[in-house]
């Protein structure tokens, strides 16, 4: 048994798929980090290699279709420890049976990828709506604390939407940020000292108070229902709203 240990990023997991394939498909596993060390297994430290990752991605899209790749992507950004294992099983079967893999939900790996995809996709859709930018000297700054690593895909969405703006989305849990300067975007890491500052930073924005006036007035008082409000807009999303 060969265990490929990767860093858990999307590229890392896809690189691990590449290496695991090279080590023998049926006799290998993928693990995020080291996991529980087993006897009688060889451990390989996978070095994330974006050219290997994009070869795997291209193959997946070609044989299994774009929907399958999207499922893999969203499963890969989820926080679940077994995501590497599930994605490997999914790709192993998918390359054999092709596009119909996305609906083969009886298979345990497919079902697991489907579940992970559903939960991180849901969070992405929530955050896409609940994320708030504050105007700081012409820059739009947003802070998020998502459960899944969705900063990069959020950037893709907002780069199209706010094409002429300069903005920044900061994941204050993982210490990563997406930056867009009005032309191109990139991802960057943020060190802990700076992160603490960002977390506590107060940015006042006059339109924020106008918005609060609107939010208060748009509610119909005889229908007051904070429980329903909290169900639809859980507290964990409100921190930076």
């Amino acid at each position: 048994m060969v265990v490929c240990c990767c860093d858990g990023t999307v590229d890392g997991i896809l690189t691990a798929v590449f290496d695991a394939w090279a080590a023998g498909v049926n006799d290998s596993r993928i693990s995020i980090g080291k996991g529980n060390i087993e006897w009688f297994a060889d451990y390989i430290d996978v070095v994330t290699d974006s050219s290997k990752a994009s070869r795997v991605a291209a193959k997946v899209i070609d044989v299994m279709g774009y929907d399958a790749y999207e499922m893999i992507y969203f499963a890969a950004v989820s926080g679940a420890d077994d995501r590497g294992e599930a994605i490997f099983g999914f790709i192993r079967k998918g390359l054999r049976i092709g596009r119909s893999i996305v609906s083969d939900l009886h298979d345990k790996y497919v079902m697991r990828v489907f579940e992970l995809h559903r939960s991180s996709q849901r969070e992405y859709q929530h955050v896409r709506g609940f994320l708030r930018f504050r105007d700081y000297k012409g820059y739009l700054i947003a802070r998020i604390e998502p459960k899944n690593n969705i900063c990069e895909i959020l950037m893709q969405f907002f780069e199209d939407r706010l094409k002429q703006e300069r903005f920044m989305i900061i994941d204050v849990i993982r210490g990563v940020a997406g930056v867009y300067d009005g032309n191109a975007g990139y991802m960057t890491g943020i060190d802990d000292d700076m992160l603490a500052g960002i977390r506590n930073m107060e940015i006042t924005d006059e339109f924020g108070s106008l918005w609060n006036v609107f939010e208060d007035n748009i509610a119909i008082k005889p229908r007051y229902n904070p429980k329903l409000q909290q169900q639809n807009l859980p507290l964990r999303f409100r921190k930076y709203m």
Binding site: D104, L105, H106, L210, V213, F214, N217, Q229
Partner: protein
């Protein structure tokens, strides 16, 4: 009328959003559009919720009135001419700035613009047109815009607005002509349905034309060879689109379709009438959505029902459930209700109610039944039905599989088999048994939708009730059906 011109923007926003809140439509769905490269904004087909107000309703658009001045005197409306409230208006620039700045900060998907009737309907519609025109052309706004079409406005200005909006809506307000006559004396059915038909025609023609264009430009075959002449095409334009059409060939007219809204519980219509009207609107006017608004007696008008105990929220909830059944599940209004049985059941949702009355069609075998048969099972929605149909191609499905796919077994379990077996031994295909179990499960739903108590069920009509419910159940629970609250 107390008109204030010297208010600052915050006061205006407070007044004009407060006045707009009884419009329930808040969706931002129906248009998929990428950024045009010049300005700000795009639109997502599924729509995006940006916040939830303290009443639990979604906030997706900046929902405001252009002005709360109104020459009409509709009894149910907070802005009616006879009410003594502060009146004010936004300027087009104020609305554009608010829309742009809120959009930049990701507070909204765009703008929902309505207005009280200032001077006359055509003048008011012209004001709304100015805003959307400038927002799209001067401010380069690419987000979502929903505009009200004002009944009675000149058709030209309605059409002009339609070229810049994503969605338009004309409120039906009340489901019957009599209701409208008594509560909204300045409005009439004809004036409401005319713009609705006009917008429908515009959408149809636009879709047709865009297809025409792709034929023309795609294959190089001119219209003449299809039997059209340039003149006849121009003639058709003038007839159905009125005066202006934006320069681009690919301009789209109301691409997200139109919607409408009805007030529930202000007049004595029953649920059957409401659902039938909604069905006719979907069929004859091609509407995307019909919204239902639980009546709130904002004016404390003594000729209208009191809503001191709270608006009829459960009734509204049941109507929305039925509305979904009409649009996505292949049900007809006459399947759900009838003249003899005109109101929805309080205890179980319309789909369960239907299933219990049609036990001869159940149980359904998950591994064999067709898509539309699966859709009729309580607890199975469009997504899970599609997943089942696809997944069973490669394997036999069991209860655990379909639970993970999203089937709500709590409800479905009485109506399905997997490989010929029911999930539990004790399940009986018996109305009493199923209804009492389903009603217990549904109490959770009741808790979620509001602070609704049994006190709000104003009529206890055991006779009607006995007709609907299986005998055993009726004796066990002596509650009534929620009726028109009149």
């Amino acid at each position: 009328m107390n008109i204030c011109d010297n208010l600052d923007i915050m006061d205006k926003l407070a007044i004009l959003s407060d006045a707009a809140k009884y419009d329930v439509s808040c969706t931002s769905s129906g248009t998929e559009r990428s950024n045009n490269g010049r300005g700000i904004g795009n639109a997502a087909a599924c729509g995006i919720c940006h916040s939830f107000a303290s009443d639990g309703r979604c906030i997706s658009l900046l929902k405001i009135l252009m002005s709360n001045e109104c020459i009409y005197d509709c009894r149910y409306c907070v802005n009616r001419a006879s009410n003594d409230v502060v009146r004010t208006s936004f300027t087009p620039d104020e609305i554009c700035t608010l829309t742009m700045e809120f959009y930049r900060r990701n507070y909204t998907e765009g703008l929902f613009l309505s207005s009280g009737i200032v001077k006359n309907p055509t003048y008011t519609m012209g004001l709304l047109y100015q805003v959307v025109y400038r927002l799209r052309t001067e401010y380069n706004f690419g987000g979502y815009i929903h505009v009200k079409a004002i009944p009675g406005a000149d058709r030209a200005v309605i059409e002009m607005t339609g070229w810049y909006a994503d969605r338009m809506s004309v409120n039906l307000e009340l489901p019957t002509t009599e209701g409208l006559k008594s509560l909204a004396p300045n409005k009439n059915r004809h004036n409401i349905l005319t713009p609705m038909k006009q917008i429908q025609n515009g959408i149809k023609e636009n879709v047709l034309r865009l297809n025409d264009n792709s034929t023309v430009y795609g294959t190089g075959i001119p219209f003449k060879e299809h039997g059209y002449t340039e003149e006849s095409l121009a003639g058709r334009d003038a007839f159905s689109y009125g005066i202006t059409r934006p320069g681009q060939d690919n301009a789209r007219f109301v691409p997200a379709g139109q919607s409408t809204q009805m007030i529930i519980g202000a007049t004595p219509e029953n649920d059957y009438q409401l659902v039938t009207v909604a069905e006719a609107l979907y069929k004859n006017y091609g509407l995307k959505r019909v919204f239902y608004s639980a009546f709130v007696n904002v004016n404390n008008d003594s000729s209208l029902p009191s809503t001191e105990a709270g608006p009829p929220l459960l009734r509204e909830h049941r109507l929305y459930q039925a509305d979904w059944l009409l649009r996505f599940y292949g049900f007809k209004a006459s399947d759900l209700l009838s003249e003899d049985r005109p109101d929805f059941n309080v205890f179980i949702d319309p789909k369960c109610d239907w299933a219990v009355r049609h036990l001869e069609q159940f149980p359904v075998e998950i591994n064999k039944a067709g898509y539309y048969t699966l859709l009729k099972v309580p607890g199975i929605g469009t997504n899970s039905a599609r997943r089942i149909v696809n997944a069973r191609k490669s394997a036999r499905l069991d209860f655990e599989d379909i639970r993970k796919m999203g089937v709500v077994l709590k409800r479905a379990v009485y109506f399905i088999t997997c490989s010929g077996r029911m999930m539990y031994r004790g399940i009986r295909m018996n109305e009493d048994f199923i209804v009492s179990n389903l009603a217990d499960a549904d109490m959770n739903i009741r808790r979620k939708i509001g602070n609704l108590t049994y006190k709000q069920i104003s009529f206890f009509d055991d006779d009607t009730y006995a007709d609907i419910m299986p005998e055993g159940f009726a004796q066990k629970n002596s509650y009534g059906v929620i009726s028109g609250q009149m």
